[in-house]
Symmetry: C2
Subunit: 342 residues, 2 copies
């Protein structure tokens, strides 16, 4: 049994002595201990494909920051990579794909792989992380949501508009649905593998949801989130659709326990849209961690005062930014821990 089970209780809506807290991107980015492990690998993909290293950096934030959950260290793009759309992580540019998804031929090249053949290293990392955590806190597994993964392969790289990807959604909707369906099938198998390997919760990251119009996201985004939420019955599911303020009502209807919200979305308004049957995770602006301790504390308290009842998980509204001082992150975490639930 997991000793610190506050996260799981909050997910189920049960009473806790205080709000659980963890940070998106807590593994990686901000810790010098992470950078020491990272430096042993020339290539980022080689790093995440090495279970011992991935497990080590997964556990670091639990040891160093004393957060209430670990999240497996990996990358959402391992899924398209395993499906035949390989990427390279370029310095200062992010992921760049070898080829773009653009037509029927691309659809043929998009395989539904056996996740145990292609992504077993993630399962291995999860098993090692579970061992290292030794039931101190829950371990969160994750995957990119189909809309976001499709946006990446259709765009071929990151973008400020994702206009190439969204062009395809307008011009070839049937083709896109077929691709989204393949990605969804793979994602379900991938998450089920993670569950078997030991994760206690899974989170879907729909990082580019905010580029879509409400109708487009409903058709090409939420529909596939639904399939995944319906298929993953073994552990609770968290959905984080960044920027999709317009889809909160629809997301609230999904078979998920927790909904992540970003810092653009007002907590109280989100609660009134989402209702009381879901846990809300978020949503401090990552930039709020740049201040001095007094400022960090004040901003964290401002967020906490907007929480209502137990169904909240304290987190940022986006991944922690790389140049954030870990001491400020600790200040954020401690402010959450000292706050009494009313």
């Amino acid at each position: 049994m997991i000793k610190n089970d506050r996260l799981l209780k909050a997910i189920r809506g049960e009473q806790t002595d205080r709000y659980p807290v963890w940070l998106m991107r807590q593994a990686g980015r901000i810790l010098k201990e992470y950078r020491q492990v990272r430096a042993q690998f020339k290539d980022f993909k080689q790093f995440i494909a090495t279970p011992e290293a991935a497990a080590e950096v997964t556990i670091q934030p639990v040891d160093i920051l004393d957060v209430d959950a670990a999240i497996i260290f990996s990358d959402i793009l391992v899924v398209p990579d395993a499906m035949g759309f390989s990427y390279a992580m370029e310095e200062n540019k992010g992921p760049v794909f070898e080829k773009k998804f653009e037509n029927e031929e691309s659809l043929n090249e998009l395989n539904i792989p056996d996740v145990y053949d292609n992504l077993n290293y993630v399962a291995e990392a999860i098993k090692l992380a579970k061992q290292g955590l030794n039931n101190r806190v829950p371990l969160i597994g994750f995957a990119g949501a189909p809309f976001t993964l499709f946006s990446y392969i259709a765009e071929g790289q990151g973008s400020k508009t994702f206009s190439k990807a969204r062009k395809l959604l307008y011009t070839q909707p049937v083709l896109c649905h077929k691709a989204l369906d393949k990605i969804t099938q793979t994602t379900i198998a991938y998450l089920k593998m993670q569950v078997k390997a030991g994760v206690d919760v899974v989170q879907l990251f729909d990082s580019w949801a905010g580029f879509a119009s409400p109708e487009q996201y409903s058709e090409f985004g939420v529909q596939y989130l639904k399939k995944i939420c319906d298929a993953i019955t073994e552990v609770p599911v968290t959905v984080f659709a960044k920027g999709a303020f317009f889809a909160r009502k629809e997301i609230a209807q999904l078979n998920c326990n927790t909904i992540g919200i970003d810092w653009n979305m007002d907590m109280q308004e989100s609660r009134s849209i989402i209702g009381n049957n879901k846990t809300i995770q978020g949503n401090l602006d990552p930039c709020a961690l740049y201040g001095n301790f007094d400022q960090v504390k004040a901003q964290s308290l401002k967020m906490l005062r907007k929480f209502e009842g137990y169904r909240h998980i304290a987190n940022l509204g986006h991944g922690v930014y790389p140049d954030t001082n870990p001491e400020n992150v600790k200040c954020f975490i401690n402010t959450i821990k000292e706050y009494e639930i009313k």
Copy 2:
């Protein structure tokens, strides 16, 4: 008197035979005629500082696309440039500033210039454009909103997060307010110069509003929009705060006639938040123009059916994307023109 005054009528909430239509970024980007003029200049800044050239490309969309308004061809960054924060327009990267705004010294270096000394070329371009338009359609002037201009100089360049700029807002709010105040004063003088030169309407572009949290935007964004809206009494003002769905209620309280909305914001929901005392401008997804004519028409009609009453100006929810086929833009425009207001 302006012959086609549909835009002005819609702004005032008066009856029109059909909805007026124009496109953000219609001048530049998509027309081959624009690229011919652009090719005469090595440097983008030199191009916009040449009144004859700026006036020529301002008029092109009226001649070629038959839109209901012209918008003066310029760049929002001419204001920080004139204030002492010079930028270079780098290929495939966008604007890069010579120095960043980061401390008290930066505040001293941020001048409030005499706009007639530094930005007179914009006034000259406006006068020439007015002559060339010969009262066929109204001419729109514009400026970047203070929040966006400040974000640019504090970040030093474009960004996917504007985290450096927003860090400063958290850590040095007093300094930032002083800078925003200087930018606001300059912007007011700049817009008044544009009005004197002949523009019929002005639009404020708050392109990076969507990076802020609701509270941050209220404090550092809306407050300065208000000062400008209160100061510009000579012509109607349009406010377009991209991504600031959370601020629609506050923006609806400003002394402006028109509110621009992006394609993430549902038209009907926006109308219910904004009320009936403002004209709404927008909001077709620019990617919707990538389809074939049938698709473009269907998407345009979908938007039009969400309009209610006369207080609407048809436009995109963002600037038209550079690789859009001008024939598709014409299809969008014609669909608007053929649509009967119910």
